[in-house]
Symmetry: C2
Subunit: 231 residues, 2 copies
DNA sequence: TGACGAATTGACTATTTAATAAATAATCAA
DNA sequence: TTGATTATTTATTAAATAGTCAATTCGTCA
C-alpha cells in the first residue's frame, strides 16, 4: 500500500505533509525577500521563518547559520541567472555573426544597441532585489559579486565593446571615442531608475517602474547612444 | 586666575580635557562612517564609541538612542549640504541670466551642460557615503531623503530642465526629445561609478575613483549629452 | 576656594536574536 | 510491519547589543 500510495501521491501530486525540499525553498524565498528589504544585518531569522511558515530552527537545520542561509540565497540566485543577455544579442546579426560578413550600416548598429539596452533593462528590472542583496557580499569583497557580474553583465559588456570596437575600426562608429565609456553610460542609464527610485521620484514625480516611463527611457537611451556613436 | 586662564586657553586654543561639543562632533563623525559602512542595522554603538574615543553611554546621553544618533547624523549632513550646484550654475551665463538676453549658441549650451555635469560629479564624489546612509531613511519612506534631494539635486534639476526647455522652444536644442529624460540620463551617468563601484570594477578593471577615469568620464558625459541635444 | 553643573566613567540591566538540543511525528525502504 | 531516516516542533541556551544609573571627575563661576 505504501508504494502504491506514494505512486498515487506522485501521480496526483498530493502535497505531502512534510517535504524538506519545499520547506527549504520557502525559506530561501522568504530569506531572499527579507535580505533584499532589510540587508544582511537587518534581516531577522524569526521574520524569515514566519514568512516561510516554518520554524526558525529549520533555518539552522538546513543552512547552519545566518551566513549559510545568505550564501544559499546567493548561490541559488546566481545559478538561476545564466547570462540571458547572450540570447538577445545572438539574434542581432551584427552581434551574433561577427565571423561572417556583417552588415556595416547604421540600422544594424541601432539593432545592436537596442538589443543591448533591452537586455540591460530587462536584467535590472528582474534582478534589482538581487543586486540589493549582493551588496553585502560586495562590501566584504565577496566572491559572489564577481561571480554574478562575470556570469551576467560581463559577457554582454565584452561582446558589445568588442563589436563596437570592430565597427569603429571599419568606420561605422565615430572614431576617437572610447566605446567602453559609452557602454558604461548605457549601463548607468539603464540601471539608474532601479537603483535610485526614491531619489528620482522626488525630482520627477512619475511612476518610475511603469511601462510608460520605461518605454520612454528605452527610446531615450537608444537614441542617446546612437547620437554618440554615429559619425 | 580662572578667568585669566580661560582667556589664555581660548587664545592659545589649549584643548580642554572635557568638551561636550567636541565629543558630540567626534561621535557624529564616527557614526557617519559606521552607518555608511555597515548600514543602520549593522552599525554598532560600541564601534562608534571606540572610533570616537568616547564612552558608549555618551551616545545615549547626547542622542537618546541609536535612532536619535542616526537622525542627528542625517540632520547635520543635510544642513551642511546647501545646494552647491547653484553656485556653479549661476556662473554659467545661459543658466544664470535667463532673464536677460542669453546667447543662444551651442558653445553656451555646452557650457551649461558642462557646469551641470561638473556639479553632479562633484556632488556624488563628495556625498557618496551620505547617500549610502540616507538609504535606510529612504526605504522607510523617511523625510530626510526628500529633504536632501529637495535641497541639493532638485534645484539643479529644475534649473537645467527649465533652461533646456527654453532653449528647445527657441530651436537651440533639438525638438521632439524630452529634456527631463536627458537630465535623468546625465544624473545616471554621473552617479553610476560611485553607486556601483564594485560591479563596474569587475567589468572594467580600472581605478574608478581615479582622476584619469573621472576626467574621461566627464568628457564622455558632456559629449554624450551634447550629441543628444544639438539639432 | 568651594559649590554647582556638565562631562565622563564603569558597572549594570534588559532585550533582542542567533543558535542548540532534545523530543515528537511523518516518511520511506526493506 | 518495522526500523531507520528525515522533517518538524518546543523549549532552552548563549551571545551580542542597546540602553540605564549612580558615582566620579573636571571646568567654571560666584
Amino acid at each position: 500500500m505504501t508504494a502504491a500510495l506514494s505512486l498515487v501521491k506522485r501521480a496526483r501530486r498530493v502535497k505531502p505533509k512534510r517535504d524538506g525540499e519545499a520547506t527549504k525553498k520557502r525559506l530561501l524565498d522568504a530569506a531572499e525577500q527579507e535580505f533584499a528589504r532589510k540587508g544582511f544585518a537587518g534581516a531577522r531569522l524569526g521574520a524569515i521563518a514566519v514568512a516561510a511558515s516554518a520554524q526558525q530552527a529549520l533555518v539552522h537545520h538546513y543552512f547552519g547559520d545566518k551566513e549559510g542561509l545568505y550564501q544559499a540565497v546567493l548561490t541559488r540566485a546566481v545559478e538561476a541567472t545564466t547570462s540571458e543577455g547572450w540570447d538577445i544579442l545572438q539574434r542581432v546579426p551584427i552581434g551574433g555573426a561577427r565571423g561572417r560578413k556583417a552588415r556595416l550600416d547604421l540600422p544594424a548598429l541601432r539593432a545592436l544597441v537596442d538589443a543591448f539596452v533591452v537586455a540591460m533593462l530587462r536584467f535590472f528590472a528582474t534582478h534589482a532585489p538581487l543586486l540589493s542583496i549582493v551588496r553585502h557580499d560586495a562590501r566584504a569583497g565577496g566572491a559572489f559579486t564577481r561571480e554574478l557580474v562575470t556570469r551576467t553583465s560581463k559577457p554582454v559588456f565584452d561582446v558589445v565593446v568588442g563589436t563596437l570596437g570592430d565597427l569603429q575600426r571599419r568606420g561605422v562608429v565615430r572614431r576617437g571615442i572610447d566605446v567602453r565609456h559609452v557602454c558604461v553610460s548605457v549601463f548607468a542609464m539603464c540601471a539608474y531608475p532601479y537603483y535610485d527610485e526614491e531619489f528620482l521620484t522626488v525630482l520627477w514625480p512619475v511612476d518610475v517602474r511603469g511601462a510608460d516611463f520605461m518605454d520612454a527611457r528605452r527610446r531615450e537611451i537608444v537614441d542617446t547612444a546612437m547620437a554618440r556613436l554615429a559619425p
